[in-house]
Symmetry: C2
Subunit: 458 residues, 2 copies
Amino acid sequence: MVKTVYVASLVSSIVVNLLFMIINIYVGGEWSLSWSSKAAAEAEAVADIACSGHGRAYLDGLVGDENEPVCECNTCYTGPNCSHFIPHCTADADSGDPLFLEPFWMQHSTSSALVVSGWHRMSYNFHDNTLISQHLESLIRKLHAFVGNAVTQDRYIVFGAGSTQVLSAAAYALSLANSSSSHSPTRVVASVPYYALYKQQVEYFNSEKFKYEGDAHTWRNRSESDASTNVIEFVTSPNNPDGLLNKAVLHGPNVKTIYDRAYYWPHFTPIPAPADEDLMVFTLSKLTGHAGSRFGWAVVKDETVFNKMVLHMQVNSIGVSKDTQLRAFKLLKAILEEGAQIFDFAYQTMKSRWERLATTLSFSNRFSLQKIIPQYCFFYNKVRESSPAYAWVKCEKEEDKDCYTVLKAANIIGRKGNVFGSEDNYVRLSLVRSQDDFDILIQRLQKLVSEEDGAISM
Amino acid sequence: MVKTVYVASLVSSIVVNLLFMIINIYVGGEWSLSWSSKAAAEAEAVADIACSGHGRAYLDGLVGDENEPVCECNTCYTGPNCSHFIPHCTADADSGDPLFLEPFWMQHSTSSALVVSGWHRMSYNFHDNTLISQHLESLIRKLHAFVGNAVTQDRYIVFGAGSTQVLSAAAYALSLANSSSSHSPTRVVASVPYYALYKQQVEYFNSEKFKYEGDAHTWRNRSESDASTNVIEFVTSPNNPDGLLNKAVLHGPNVKTIYDRAYYWPHFTPIPAPADEDLMVFTLSKLTGHAGSRFGWAVVKDETVFNKMVLHMQVNSIGVSKDTQLRAFKLLKAILEEGAQIFDFAYQTMKSRWERLATTLSFSNRFSLQKIIPQYCFFYNKVRESSPAYAWVKCEKEEDKDCYTVLKAANIIGRKGNVFGSEDNYVRLSLVRSQDDFDILIQRLQKLVSEEDGAISM
């Protein structure tokens, strides 16, 4: 009897020890957290609020009566769980809010999660006394090399708060360089249709250094008698709004070019060759979809121009938030660890959206889309079409001069042609927004086209 | 015997069940993490690298041969664990890098930890279509009410990338308002000694809207014949560099005032009353010490001015990074949950630093400090002295015209008086940096003072 008790005790002791071992393994492994565990549990609890797939809750978002996080619903959904569709709601295709990439990050939650200690990078400067994370810079170089969309060897890289801040830094840097040889302000041009921000920034800052001059083609035709004036040309390639791989219109010793390469990723375009311009601007917004993080960068050939852009960031905001730089670091690290996954996701999403849109409008005599020319893409090693971020819709009929109003009457909000320096028979429709926004856009367009006189039968 | 076996089995079964319960409790509680646990473990591992208290490792910091994070040492320390003091190294008292608050956050690691999902706030906008977190705004109002340092009722709040961006937004907003009534550019002034950034920004942006004019007192004496010119006065209170609670020098219908209230916290000054000016600028840097996060805000009385500042942020950078806003949210939440703790820590630290400095220089005939006038502080409900962020050191001797060079010869880097519009017999020494930097500064000063001819015997 005593022996049996010993055996039973031994068994129970072994079991107990095994269980303690298991606990210790967990505690010694991923579960052994101290200061971060409360914040992690909070973040996961918020992330678990599903909002029916038509919204999301945030740590710093809307809260209910008990101060608990509640759903922030997508445009056309409402209710506590965003489960109610609002029947006659407006299709929002206005801004280029790149939420089409949100599902990718929800699927890659582990690799993209970020934990920040309370004392992370409190200093103005990094350890090398710059405002720029060398780690992040090196990830950016690796990413460009992986995608093959930009030459970064022997180039400088400067960061800004989105491409927004980088673009104005570039304009200031190139104007300063220009203005030493003359007293007349540098003229800033872009070819129509152009991204409105270039004009808006130059006019807003109202600097004595530069003036917005308008269309690059108009300037070229006028400027032969005026070869001494310094000019900056903004070239957006692929272009916003029409997706074309634009090239500079102006050339010559008095011309500086700023290449806005925001959309030069496999998401939106074939990559026929690595971009190799003197000053190229990129942004996280249109790469990972994190527009809210406000992170952009320029790849710059000339050291003097680079130094002037660094000064701009210093005077403007003492560089880019270290929190933003850490987030960008984590996201780019996740991308690089997972090979082509984000590009495949983004390309497939944009391609399928473009095809649905093109099919929808193929039944119309009233609306047309920009033409897409297939090219060889060195990223995918095949000829492919572009899968543009925006539709540049033309109202073809004489009476539809105000295309924006035509679409608005059909419950669709686009962006007016004249915002881009074009005629108002054009409207830009954003294709990069959430799946909900895109689905509703297609529904509204289908209805509009089906009501056309003489529409091609579906 | 059989009974005994049953009893033993029962006991072991109960033990096993208890242990499973314990595991389940942990798993059901804080340890039940999925996507965040890897990132949390990484962040804690990096935080565990102690660096002898003279440095720190970061997630996005220096790495060793095996790509493992390694220590980034404070200025005068080196070695793999930052344990080696560099004997003749220079005392850096130049920039206002507010690392004196770093130990506070290390002590409050749980409340300040932040976990960010990969899909957190990807949109340009918050749910209400603004660029400003309403939650963060409401914490800022609560904090001002708790401290009693600013009136925020019926005021607007706008965010920027540090006070840096907020200050230029304010200058643009007030210039635009002014310039409608005249064609002459708005003159920007500040009383000497002033924070150099005001001048630097106005000159850098080179806008047709405003010109930097220099000292406010000089302008007042000159301007009586010129009452129609619009003027913006920057008033820094407490002042950088000298800590005085400055008031506006200029008044009148053509004068707008921007109050830079960066240092108006119990850390640095008695709080005699809540600030109640039309436009007040604050920054996270000098409140929590997170200079690297680049977060500032303005409290604005006039709606038109507020809207213009919002436009400035839009055109400049499409608002402040959502990552930064989330970080600021977490930090202010931690502060408010813990009552007066951060203020006690900051005040005690700055007070003790000032006392050590004052004691050190009390033995000198060559160097003097600004005078500190005690005032009643409504935060601490007592008369207290200020505990300034900077020492405004005067070289008293005729031959020490270049005070910066005098200190530099003693291995101390300050900031030259002329940077602040003053004479060069003044130097600013920063007292807000890391404890290491401050300790070395005191050592160097003690040596310098002890070598003075006719120094008061220690």
